[in-house]
């Protein structure tokens, strides 16, 4: 029985929230993102802004260059969080298993459809999801439906905005074969370049590639690449509360300007360590390893050490972190500073006793996703709660 997975992506989520609050903004080129620093990046561009070639991830400065009349609004975290959870609640009322992939994206595991009517069932689900989300929030979304997460995610942009796109079974290569490899989520500019050097330009090229040839460049990752190019992958839909236990918990922040003063850096480390410690306690974990991360210019560094006794106390984390950082940075000014606890061990019996508890954890997880989305440049504490995945 072919599986059925839906990928839901809110259309210009952050910008749409602002437009919903003030409909007069609807036709203006608008971006949401950045912080008071002016160093920020675009988190979301409204559709009128996209016509100027502005997209998320672009620096605000570049966006302003492309459209001098651009309106840039700061992110409103509580509003975004609230709305994100509302969308999630709608989706959870539709499917038994819903995975929040980010603050404005989710996967739904739908009942496997009868093969002869697979595409029609998928379409019906797509319309239903879109209708419900819009009815509950007044915001539009796009839905991609396919046999797995990878294909569903790749189908969604084909119908944006407000589209329902069903990628029929066995249509993956026919749809994406001639597209550049970078259309596959996770294949960034570096991988694209490296593949290009091997003469692999399109998804079809990659699907046909000799694993041996790839292995010399990509090592063990090469089979994943070939799988993805064949439309296989994305894993299973993991519902909130069902995630594997976290492997580390951390916070980091980007400074408005580079900072070298020890007092400032030490205070920042304390502030971040306190947040990490609170998170550890809330989830019932202690860290065996302390990790500090920092950026000098554009280069990223990290230093770590193991503790004799696992800790969930801010003082210990901060003190150990400082002991690692100070000699390593050797007086150089930092652009970013972060601290994380890794090698987590449970401090309380594991397992979710009450379903409510699982749900609460899921909600907390959604908050983390939101912070992920702000990125390092938002000057807000960026939160990471890694589950063993590469960020």
């Amino acid at each position: 029985m072919p599986a059925l997975v839906a990928h839901v992506d809110m259309d210009a989520f952050f910008a749409s929230l602002e437009i919903r609050s003030d409909p007069r903004l609807a036709d203006r080129p608008l971006v949401v993102g950045g912080g008071p620093s002016g160093r920020g990046v675009v988190t979301t561009a409204s559709y009128p802004a996209r016509r100027f070639g502005i997209h998320s991830g672009m620096s605000l400065a570049e966006a302003r260059r492309r459209c001098p009349a651009l309106l840039a609004l700061p992110v409103d975290p509580p509003k975004v969080m609230h709305e994100s959870l509302r969308v999630l609640a709608v989706l959870e009322s539709l499917a038994a298993r819903v995975e929040a992939a980010s603050v404005d994206e989710a996967y739904l595991d739908l009942p496997p459809a009868v093969p002869e009517a697979w595409a029609a069932v998928a379409r019906t689900w797509g319309f239903r999801i879109r209708e419900r989300v819009t009815a509950a929030t007044g915001l539009s979304c796009s839905v991609g439906l396919a046999v797995n997460k990878l294909q569903a995610k790749m189908a969604t942009p084909l119908g944006k905005p407000e589209g329902v796109t069903v990628l029929p079974q066995d249509a993956f290569l026919a749809t994406f074969g001639e597209r550049e490899v970078s259309v596959i989520p996770g294949i960034g500019p570096r991988t694209t370049r490296a593949l290009g050097d091997l003469g692999i330009l399109t998804v079809a090229d990659l699907a046909r590639a000799e694993p041996e040839r790839l292995r010399t460049v990509f090592g063990r990752g090469s089979s994943v690449l070939v799988d993805q190019a064949g439309g296989r992958g994305g894993g299973t839909v993991v519902a909130s509360g069902e995630e594997p236990p976290p492997k580390s918990a951390g916070h980091e922040t980007t400074f408005a300007r580079d900072r070298a003063e020890p007092r400032f850096l030490r205070a920042t480390l304390w502030y971040l360590a306190d947040r990490v410690a609170r998170r550890l306690r809330r989830h019932g974990f202690a860290a065996r390893t302390v990790v500090v991360r920092y950026k000098v210019g554009l280069s990223r560094y990290s230093r770590q050490r193991s503790l004799r006794v696992p800790t969930d106390l801010p003082g210990t984390l901060a003190a150990e972190g400082w002991r690692l950082l100070e000699p390593a940075r050797a007086g150089r000014p930092l652009r970013l500073l972060g601290i994380a606890g890794a090698g987590l061990v449970p401090t309380e019996p594991q397992g979710v006793l009450f379903p409510e508890e699982g749900r609460r954890r899921g909600v907390l997880g959604a908050g983390d996703l939101l912070r992920d989305r702000f990125g390092e440049d938002a000057l807000l504490p960026g939160t990471v709660f890694l589950t063993g995945r590469e960020r």
């Binding site: 539709l94 009868v114 002869e116 319309f127």
Partner: protein, 273 residues
Amino acid sequence: MQAPLPAGKLRMGLSGYSYDDWTGIFYPKGLAKSEYLRYYASKFGAVEINATYYRIPPARSFEAMAARTPSGFVFTAKANQDMTHARSRERSLYRGFLEAVDPLRQAGKFDGTLLQFPFGFRNEVRNRSHLAFLREQLPGMRLWAEFRHESWDRPPVLDYLRRLDIGYCAVDEPPLPGLLPPRAAVTSDAGYVRFHGRNAATWWGGGHERYDWEYTAEELSEWLDRIREMATAADHTYLFFNNCYMGRAVKSARLLGRLLGMEPELDLGLPGV
């Protein structure tokens, strides 16, 4: 006394609204036929269109129906007999149906199609495959399957419907041998119940008299738990009365509404009903 269901969970209505023998019973005497729907929509929030079963009307008829009803009012339509009884595979038939109801969809007033199958439509491979064919022909639309033959009263059928995203239509009909027994089930996001009356004597005779049945409070009370169960499982659940003979459906709807504690929402304003 159980807690009332959240508002909007139940949508009650009648199977069809245009019956001549309702004049003076439901419709005020002298009300022009063209005003029936407007009047009906002032009393009920939903209607099941039965005319589509006999003939697919042109899109402009539905356009007019959309215009005569307030926002929030919803229609469901019975599939054409060629789809469910003749099991036609003629694709133009389905295209025509989709085009006809499109004005209602555009107006946000169309909520889906009832596939009512005849007694002779048994739980067999070719009929199950016809269900899949119907789903394929009517994509993106809520569908409900109403079976008559008891061979469909099997748990795997419900699972099959779920995988087709087709809703199960629960029925109240005479307890005759071979007929589907009353059962509460939800297999898509919307529930559906049809009350046909329990007139065993006239059931097989066909004709209007089949639906000559006056429900008692006791009979309808058998459904209260089932309805609550369905309303909990579904986003919304339709309750349609088809015992339309001499306006009996109106009276039954009002009675069930009262039993469910939804009477204030269903003020039919009928003298002596």
